[in-house]
Amino acid sequence: MDALLQQFFNFEIMAKVLPLLLGGLKQTLIICVIVVPLGLVGGLLLALLLRAPFRAVRWGAIATIDLFRAIPPLVLLIFVYSGLPFAGLRISPLTAVSVAFFLNSSSYYAEIYRAGIDSIGRGQWDAARSTGLPMFDTLTFVILPQAIRNVLPDLISNTVEVIKLTSIASVVALPELLYSADMARSITYNTSPVVLAASIYLIMLWPIVRLVSRLERRIAS
C-alpha cells in the first residue's frame, strides 16, 4: 500500500515538478487556442460543402470527412510530422500538430454541424426563402443559429475530445502538459508526475464533462 502511494501519489515529487508541468500546461492551452477554432471553422466549411449545389463537391466533402474519421489522429500526426520531411517538407511540431488536428477535428465538427442543420425542418428554409432571403442569409440568420443550439452539447463534448487529444502532441516532442509530465517521470523514476498531469486534466475538463451531461439531459427532456 505504501509502495503504491509512493509510486503514484508522492506529493514531494509532485510539488517539485509542478512548475515544469505548469509550463507544459501553458503549451497545452496555446495548442488548444490554435486547434479548437481551426476545427470549428473547418468543420463548418465542410458541413456547408455537404449542402453545395454540385454533387461532386458534396461527394468530395463526404469522402474527406470519412477519410479523416477513419485515420487515427496519432497516425495522422506522425505522418505529417515525420513522413512529410521525406518529401522535403520540414515543419515544426506545432505546425504538424495544427495541421493534423485541423484535418481530424474538422471532420468530427462537420458531422455535428451536419446533424444540426439536418435537424432544422424544411419549413424554416421555406419560410425564410419565401420572404426573399437569399440562400446564404437564410443559412446565417435562420438555420445555423437554431442548428448550433440543437447540437451545442455535441460541439462542447467534441471540444473536450480535442483538448484531451492534444496530449498526443507529446509523441512529437512538443513540450505540452503530458510531455512535461512524462519527462519528469523518466527523471524521477516515479509515476506521480503523470498522475499530477492527470489531475490537471481532470480539474480542467471535469466541469465541462458535467456541463455536457446536464445540457444533454435538458435537451432530451
Partner: protein, 227 residues
C-alpha cells in the same frame, strides 16, 4: 527527376512496399485483435454499469458517475502511461498489449455506460408500468422490455464511440505494442523513407472506412425509425 516520380519514390516505393507488407499485415492483425477485445469488454462492462445504476442505490450510482466522469475527462494516453510505467514499479507486470486493452476497455465502458443509461432513461415510464402490471418483476421488465428498446436507441452513438475509441489502439505504439502504427514508424526509420508510414495510413483507412460507412448507414437507418 520529375515531381511525380519523386512523390511515388517518397510514399509508394515498390520494393519497400514489398519488403514491409508482411510487418504491416502483422500489425493489422494485432490492431484488429485488440480493437475487438476492447469492444467486447468495454461494451459489456458499460452495459453492466448502466444496469447497476437502474437499481438506484445512491452510493453505487454516485461511485459509478464519478468513475465514469473521470474516464471521460482523462486523455487515454495519460492513462496508458500511468498504467504502463506505474504498475511495474509496484511489482505488477502487465504486458503492454494488456495495458492498452485494459485502459481502452475502461474508457469505452465509461462512454458506453453514459449512453446506455441515457437510453434506459429514454424508454417511457409507461413501458415499466405496463410490464409490472402484468406481474413481470424488476429484472424481467429490464431484460425483456426495457433493455431491448434502450439498446436499439443507442446503436448509432455506441457505434461512433466504439469507432473513436478503437482508433486509439494506435496509442499502443508509445508503449511498444506491435500494432500498425508501431510497425509503420519502425519501418519508416529503418528504410529512411515514408513508404511504410503511407502503408500504415492506408491499412487504417482500409480497416476503419467500412466502419465509418457502416456508422453512417446505421445512423440514417435508426434515426427516425420508430417514434
Amino acid at each position: 527527376m520529375d515531381g511525380w516520380s519523386r512523390f511515388t519514390d517518397t510514399f509508394f516505393k515498390p520494393e519497400l512496399i514489398e519488403r514491409y507488407l508482411p510487418s504491416i499485415a502483422s500489425g493489422l492483425v494485432v490492431t484488429v485483435e485488440i480493437a475487438l477485445a476492447v469492444i467486447v469488454t468495454g461494451l459489456t462492462l458499460g452495459l453492466l454499469l448502466a444496469v447497476v445504476r437502474t437499481f438506484r442505490v445512491s452510493v453505487l450510482s454516485f461511485v459509478i458517475v464519478i468513475v465514469v466522469d473521470a474516464f471521460r475527462a482523462l486523455p487515454p494516453l495519460v492513462l496508458v502511461l500511468i498504467v504502463f510505467f506505474g504498475l511495474p514499479n509496484v511489482g505488477i507486470n502487465v504486458p503492454s498489449f494488456a495495458v492498452l486493452w485494459i485502459v481502452l476497455s475502461f474508457v469505452l465502458a465509461a462512454f458506453a455506460e453514459e449512453i446506455f443509461w441515457a437510453g434506459i432513461l429514454s424508454v417511457p415510464k409507461g413501458q415499466w408500468e405496463a410490464a409490472r402490471s402484468t406481474g413481470l418483476g424488476f429484472l424481467g421488465t429490464l431484460t425483456h422490455v426495457i433493455l431491448p428498446q434502450a439498446i436499439r436507441l443507442t446503436v448509432p452513438p455506441i457505434t461512433n464511440r466504439a469507432l473513436a475509441i478503437t482508433k486509439n489502439t494506435a496509442l499502443g505504439t508509445v508503449i511498444g505494442v506491435p500494432e500498425i502504427l508501431n510497425q509503420a514508424s519502425t519501418g519508416q526509420s529503418f528504410a529512411g523513407n515514408a513508404t511504410p508510414m503511407m502503408m500504415g495510413a492506408i491499412a487504417y483507412v482500409l480497416l476503419f472506412i467500412p466502419v465509418v460507412i457502416l456508422g453512417r448507414w446505421i445512423e440514417t437507418r435508426f434515426a427516425w425509425g420508430r417514434a
